[in-house]
Amino acid sequence: MFEQQLINALSLGSVYALFALGFTLVFGVLGVINLAHGAIFMLGSYVALLLVNQFQMSLWLAMLIAMLTCGVIGVIVDFLVLRPLRKRNAPHLAPMIATIGVAIMITNVAQGFFGAENKRFPFGTIPEESFTVGNLHLTAVQLAIVLISFALMVVLLIIMRRTQLGRALRAIAESPKAAYLLGINVEGLFLFTSFAAAALGGAAGVLVGLSFNAISPFMGQPMLHKGIAVIILGGMGDIRGALIGGLFLGFAEVMSVAYLSSDFRDAVAFGLLFVILLVRPSGMFGKILERKA
């Protein structure tokens, strides 16, 4: 049983990590807790579902288009909502509250369009059977999610750490003014980040929709809670943190079910989070950097 639970934890953790990657990217660069990320995630799976259902599109193409669509929506949200707020020098909570508004809108409109019930991808979109090794089971999508989230993290890390683009993004994250003085196209990169993060969110939506067969207008909300926990646990805006934080949360949840009681799954997970923050006030990878004077 333990081995199976390890696999369960790994796959659940990867789901969280996958969701958190885009989420943490927005925070890391724009400094905004984008509470619409859950809604965009949801939209991603609906777009792909629609394409697969209505146009008999292949899954991979549908996923690509879903990512693009979400990316464009991310750009629109940035352009219409976040950018004006940046221009007006809004206090730091304002963008977050505005994204709540965005989330409410997208969710409500999605419900109007697609209905409130859960949907799933048609049977046979992906191989249903699971890989079985001895007594251990893992489905193809689960495996895909694990691999993709690790791969994405590595790619993002390389971009952030090793490329001029990454340095520029980190510069913007710290001080847009300083970035401007360096000749960085700050607004352009904000838009780019919003696009990338939303596209990542969309991809996560498609994969999660495939793996759990529970596509609904509200699927983003619980994921958002977990996502917030994950990026804080990992350290806000830290790419490694999103993955490690996701895995940590996945393990905490699965192991608390396995060895304590499923009644307290969330309490254990969030309680642990609480404790970790007390020990490491900026998350696992958060930088504790404060020049005192």
Binding site: M1, L12, N108, A116, T132, F212, N213, S262
Partner: protein
């Protein structure tokens, strides 16, 4: 004159998947009644409001319907938790409140104006369990339920005592929370406890996922479920992975009575999808009220008419989409007068080839 009937259901938010089906059931019933000329010549006019599945909203909507719209009675709200907030308003104003989806214990204890035709799990689950035990020769089961939802939790309570009564041992009890989509950790634990069947107090969508994930873990056990399973959603999501699932309910899509067949056909024609139990119960509820109204002479004084309806309802015997129906007075508690629960027969179904068929 039109008879104004209030409908307060969750039409947005996560509970909307039930609320919308319920609203459809009412609409279909009202159309049917009005097409036949209404009740004693009066058309039924539905006044529909969204209560979002929130308690404050439910109270607000009830007040609006009762005081402003001056409806004769209120159907709803969707969730039991909202009912606990809103039903006292109806009782205080001597207005019938008729729940079609409230299954929690104690709903009808809120006052004599509280009615419901939603079958209580206590009436169904023991029958289902017994049938399952016989069919699959079950000795020990594992239990899985949602522990943060009034419906699934009270279902669990009933299962628990039914299992104890029938001396079935429980190998493991696991819970999940609303919005969870990954149940593998619990299922892996259940697998290790090696039960003969899995008892599941869940709603259809979750149940379907649970079943799929159970199968992907290489488990073949049959499932035993309650009312929550009674939805086409189960098969839309799980297809024949759900085979060998037992479910008991007064309403079955397979029930071939004329009323039910017509209900299902009309529903499909009007809304383009298959009805579920929520729609069926709502459909019946309005027809039950219509029956009662036939025996009432409306005076035009809303207060008097409301009480007259209340007095006429308990005597109604009715056969609708959900089969034979009668009211049963709830046991009074704390010396407070109680309302009326549903008295219905459960039909036990088994899933075969992607649909429920009657268990013979």
């Amino acid at each position: 004159a039109d008879i104004k009937v209030g409908v307060a259901e969750a039409l947005t938010g996560p509970a909307a998947k039930y609320g919308v089906a319920i609203k459809n059931g009412f609409t279909l019933a009202a159309d049917g009644i009005n097409a036949k000329g209404g009740v004693n010549g009066n058309k039924i006019a539905l006044v529909v409001e969204d209560e979002q599945g929130k308690k404050e909203e439910a109270i607000n909507v009830f007040k609006k319907l009762i005081f402003q719209e001056k409806v004769l009675l209120v159907f709803g709200p969707t969730l039991s938790n909202s009912a606990f907030a809103a039903d006292p308003i109806a009782n205080a104003t001597k207005t019938v409140v008729f729940g079609t989806s409230n299954t929690a214990d104690g709903i009808t204890n809120m006052g004599p104006f509280t009615f419901r035709n939603s079958v209580m799990e206590a009436d169904v689950l023991p029958v289902t369990t017994r049938a399952a035990v016989k069919k699959f020769n079950i000795k020990k089961v594992a239990v899985l339920y949602g522990n943060d939802d009034a419906f699934t939790k009270s279902g669990y309570d009933v299962f628990k005592s039914a299992l104890a009564d029938q001396k079935i041992s429980v190998t493991d009890t696991e819970t999940y929370a609303k919005g969870d989509v990954d149940f593998k950790a619990q299922l892996t634990k259940i697998k290790a406890s090696n039960p003969d069947a899995i008892v599941c107090s869940c709603l259809a969508e979750e149940a379907a996922n649970i079943i799929l994930q159970t199968r992907s873990l290489g488990m073949k056990q049959p499932f035993i479920g309650g009312n929550g399973f009674n939805s086409p959603k189960l098969f839309e999501i799980a297809k024949d992975a759900a085979d060998d699932t037992l479910m008991g309910s007064p309403w079955s899509i397979e029930n071939t009575s004329a009323t039910n067949k017509k209900f299902i056909a009309d529903y499909k024609a009007k809304f383009g999808n298959e009805p579920d139990q929520f729609a069926a119960q709502a459909f019946d509820a309005l027809n039950i009220v219509a029956e009662a109204l036939k025996t009432v002479k409306l005076t035009g004084s809303i207060d008097k008419d409301r009480v007259a309806l209340r007095n006429a309802l308990p005597a109604i015997k009715f056969e609708g989409a959900t089969g034979k129906f009668a009211f049963r007075r709830a046991a009074a508690k704390d010396g407070k007068e109680a309302g009326y629960d549903a008295q219905q027969e459960a039909i036990v179904n088994i899933a075969k080839g992607g649909k429920f068929i009657l268990l013979k």
